[in-house]
């Protein structure tokens, strides 16, 4: 009783800690691979949390976008909100860029400008003066005949992709939707913050207006809501299911209540440990881990089932001692299986592994020490005819091995039928909750705004802005002409480049006379360009990121491009390409081409392959343990048979259902093998104690599997593909595992004889 009180006290402390400290989050970034090197994967991870990932694009119809933007600004939840170009921004652009125009001149090559180049620029000036912008051009022409400032204005227009401006408000080209961009202050994956953001957004929509918007945060919120809903649904339904099932089998309230003890204790300890170690509990780890701990209910089921048929003379502690080898061996193989996730390189899976492994161990200890003093003794009843019938059936199967086909045949059939159809899909989508409505809205917004559908980006790193900008320029030179290329370098060259460009004009003694000649040749009056001639001798003015950051232009000129990644200054160039641009960047220091979809897919493929290898290694190890214990290859093989058949058949069923297998299915297989081997071990262990015990074990395995299938089967109905993949694999896998269990008992009886 003292032990039980000790458990209660420890559980209360854990509960208090969890209740006061728990922080539930669902950042998908935790399921991105971790790299020890500062490589593309690590950058991609950091990018997912960078300010650029916090950008939200809004399209609004039948409402005042200005009013909507103002409401977002006032909320204080956004780092910036931009719906167009204000007079203040126009002025700032002129005041910063026009004095620096000589350094911002966009010219190719090196050395003095050729006569041909000068002639072309002067001809272009004449053409611009005759165009619709002629009146505007006239204002700058005398001071900027080379058209440097006009080119900057044009480049700025180009960055708006297919948007136009109506009364300083960005609108789509068909004029149907007003456009507002914003960036939240908090990470897109901080779901608590994003919930507040969503409330503000919805409240800001003008009455009668239609809002359609796109942002990573929407998917994060969807995932969080879905996982939270699943946790509530699955935990309550599975607890009710298990309770009812136990009530039916044990005809008493005590066992159904007691069986919850190890599960609850395991969950509490695991949650507290994860909160303590990781600083938060991942929603997926909680959902998935809780299900794993549900497996720990097998221990108590095994114990209670044997209590029913054990002799009354056998004390609870003695019974537990008798069952303990099978229990710890089973727990050992389960923990070993789960622990392979520690080597995954995915922080989310590491947390799942920790949650599961610690929870199983805690539940096992609770079963071992808390259940015997609390459970009934001397109320055992033996359903002798049923036990005898079960034993006779096992004997018959042992005598006529063909009967075993009824139990292993379906598994083999599903494996064989499904194998040709099995295909793997390695993608981040395998983990993401999807919503056709949200996907469609997202696609509509992206199309309206002319944004690239894929997240392809080139990241350059530098020790400071100057170095990173210099590298960004090299990237722009190499990739110029690539579809949808957006680079900071079209608007903001490095200081070295600005100085070099200015020098090409100011340090060339022949420049002004040659320009005068070109002006004359194209019908201009050179004397009218005296302001420009004078500017050639004035001190240099340069445009710097620091100045831009202080100006009203920060959100439009710097925010989309600049980030702090890997402890360095990073500049992003977004591109759209159907092939790997990495080779084209060869030789540019710290330039990384990141195709997020391709990168993650490759990472998941690698991990899946690695996990499959780990599974194989794990199976060999388990086989070694079983060989060491039973000293018979046949018995050891029989112990593993249900697990192997269950895992194989589950994959076959998934393939036949047309579900592409992914990393999470492999993890599901891992669990089926871990639990299936437990069932095999229980069966083998029970044979040490006679025929009745074997049949009782069969009953306990059936009951345990039913409860596990109940909880995992419900997980299989989850909207979250990750949970659904694990749930369905384990659910189907255990059905086939249980089906194959009698074969183990039957054939080990033969061996014992």
């Amino acid at each position: 009783m003292l032990r039980a009180l000790g458990f209660a006290l420890f559980a209360a402390l854990c509960g208090l800690f969890v209740a006061t400290r728990i922080e539930l989050r669902t950042p998908i970034t935790e399921f991105l691979p971790v790299g020890k090197q500062r490589d593309a994967i690590e950058l991609a991870r950091e990018l997912a949390n960078a300010p650029q990932a916090r950008t939200v694009a809004f399209t609004l119809q039948n409402g005042d976008a200005g009013q909507f933007a103002e409401a977002l600004r006032k909320s204080g939840l956004f780092a910036w909100v931009r719906g167009g170009v204000s007079e203040e921004e126009e002025r700032a652009f002129y005041e910063l860029a026009f004095p620096a125009r000589l350094g911002l001149l966009q010219i190719a090559g090196e050395g003095p400008l050729s006569d041909a180049e000068l002639a072309a620029r002067v001809a272009s000036l004449r053409e611009r003066l005759s165009g619709p912008w002629g009146m505007l051009e006239r204002r700058f022409a005398a001071e900027d005949p080379l058209g440097s400032f006009s080119a900057l204005l044009a480049a700025q227009l180009k960055t708006r992709a297919q948007l136009t401006m109506v009364d300083r408000q960005l609108v789509t080209s068909d004029g149907q939707w007003q456009v507002v961009f914003a960036a939240t202050k908090e990470s897109a994956f901080d779901t608590a913050a994003q919930q507040r953001v969503e409330q503000v957004i919805l409240a800001a929509v003008p009455k009668g207006a239609t809002l359609e918007w796109s942002g990573l945060s929407r998917y994060a919120l969807l995932g969080e809501k879905s996982v939270r809903g699943d946790i509530e649904r699955i935990s309550s339904l599975s607890v009710i299911g298990i309770f009812v099932l136990y009530l039916f089998v044990f005809r008493s309230l005590r066992e159904p209540l007691l069986v919850l003890l190890p599960i609850g204790f395991g969950c509490l300890v695991a949650t507290a440990a994860c909160q303590l170690v990781f600083g938060y509990v991942h929603g997926l780890a909680l959902a998935f881990g809780s299900s794993i701990i549900g497996v720990a209910e097998d221990f108590s089921t095994h114990y209670f089932a044997h209590r029913l048929v054990a002799p009354e003379s056998e004390s609870n502690d003695a019974l537990m001692d008798r069952l303990w080898p099978g229990m710890w061996l089973g727990a050992l193989t389960t923990v070993a299986g789960i622990s392979t996730l520690f080597a995954s390189g995915f922080r989310g899976l590491e947390q799942m592994a920790m949650f599961g492994a610690l929870g199983v161990v805690a539940a096992l200890i609770c079963t071992r020490y808390a259940l015997p003093p609390l459970s009934r003794r001397g109320v055992a009843h033996k359903d002798r005819p049923a036990l005898q019938a079960g034993a006779r059936f096992l004997d018959r199967m042992a005598a006529r091995p063909v009967l075993a086909l009824w139990f292993v045949g379906p598994s083999i059939l599903f494996m064989l039928a499904g194998a040709p159809k099995l295909r793997f899909e390695d993608s981040l989508k395998a983990l993401r909750t999807t919503s056709p409505a949200l996907d469609a809205e997202n696609a509509r917004v992206q199309q309206r705004l002319g944004l690239p559908a894929k997240g392809q980006v080139v990241v350059v790193l530098g020790d400071d802005d100057e170095q990173a900008l210099a590298r960004s320029e090299q990237v722009l030179q190499r990739l110029d002409g690539t579809l949808s290329l957006r680079s900071v370098s079209t608007l903001l060259p490095s200081l070295a480049t600005q100085r070099a460009r200015r020098a090409r004009v100011t340090e060339d003694a022949t420049f002004w006379p040659r320009l005068e000649a070109a002006l004359t040749q194209h019908g201009f009056v050179p004397a009218a360009f005296e302001p420009f001639a004078k500017a050639l001798h004035e001190p240099a003015v340069e445009l710097t990121p620091a100045e831009l950051a202080k100006s009203p232009l920060a959100s439009s000129f710097l925010a989309p491009f600049r980030a702090s990644l890997a402890g360095q200054v990073a500049y992003l160039t977004s591109v759209e390409s159907d092939h790997d641009l990495g080779p084209e960047l060869a030789g540019i220091p710290d330039a990384h081409y990141i195709d997020q979809e391709a990168l993650y897919s490759a990472a998941y493929r690698d991990f899946r392959t690695r996990t499959l290898w780990l599974l194989a290694v794990g199976l060999v190890l388990v086989l070694g343990v079983l060989l060491a214990r039973y000293r018979s290859p046949r018995t050891a093989g029989l112990g593993m048979l249900p697990a192997l058949l269950g895992a194989g058949a589950a994959m076959g069923v998934e393939a036949l259902r047309g579900v592409p297998a992914n990393l999470l299915h492999v993890i599901g297989v891992l669990l089926v093998l871990s639990m299936g081997v437990d069932y095999g071990i229980y069966a083998l262990e029970s044979q040490q104690h006679g025929a009745d015990d074997g049949v009782t074990t069969l009953g306990s395995v059936l009951l345990a599997a039913l409860t596990t299938v109940l909880s995992f089967g419900l997980l299989g109905l989850s909207d979250n593909p990750a949970l659904a993949a694990v749930g369905s694999t384990v659910g189907f896998g255990l059905v086939f595992t249980v089906l194959a269990s009698p074969v183990v008992l039957a054939f080990t009886r033969v061996e014992r004889r």
Partner: protein, 200 residues
């Protein structure tokens, strides 16, 4: 002698009756539903030794639809929305929020629409008879507008404009002469879609 006096009086009366007035000219314009014309524009600037010449077409439809196409670029006024651009890119603005620009646009559209009252609200307007035709002088009243434009003038005969001159405050001038001007019925919906657009 008496016969001569009567003849002179008759001639004088006829001449007085046929001399265009601001009201009569604008009344003629007010009758116009729509028009199409070719234009030739010459910009003379202090920067330029030789003027910039531009040829294009323009279309107008009451009350405030006006488009100019030249050199693949377009300028389109639709109500208060003024757009510039070409097939690749465009920019629009609501002229209600740009007072100086609004006065310029309103002046032009008020002349074409024959809206004397609107014209006189933003500018001082006078008419000078020129042979069979006239010249309307429009001088902006607003100081902000005066910093951009000194004067606009419109030459024509009846409801047909022949020439327009814009004198910038800096001395630059833009002279537009119209040819093949056709006064016509309102454009059909299909014609409007085809003609009144950027890059058309």
């Amino acid at each position: 002698m008496r016969l001569l006096a009567i003849t002179l009086w008759l001639f004088a009366s006829v001449a007085q009756a046929e001399a265009p007035t601001l009201a009569s000219v604008l009344a003629e314009f007010a009758k116009v539903e729509a028009l199409s014309a070719k234009f030739h524009e010459e910009k003379t600037m202090s920067l330029l030794a030789t003027p910039i010449k531009l040829d294009g077409t323009m279309h107008y439809q009451k009350p405030r639809k006006l488009v100019r196409h030249a050199n693949k670029a377009s300028m389109l006024l639709d109500g208060n929305k003024l757009s510039f651009g070409d097939a690749k890119s465009s920019q629009s603005m609501d002229i209600a929020s740009q007072p100086a620009l609004r006065v310029l646009v309103d002046t032009y559209v008020s002349v074409l629409g024959g809206d004397l009252a609107a014209l006189q609200r933003v500018a001082t307007v006078t008419l000078e008879a020129q042979g069979a035709g006239y010249r309307i002088h429009v001088t902006p009243k607003d100081d902000k507008v005066k910093r951009l434009v000194k004067e606009m003038s419109f030459d024509g005969v009846g409801a047909k404009l022949t020439r327009m001159e814009l004198l910038d405050a800096n001395g630059d001038t833009t002279v537009t002469t119209f040819s093949a001007l056709t006064l016509r019925k309102p454009f059909s919906a299909a014609e409007q879609k085809q003609l009144f657009r950027i890059g058309g």
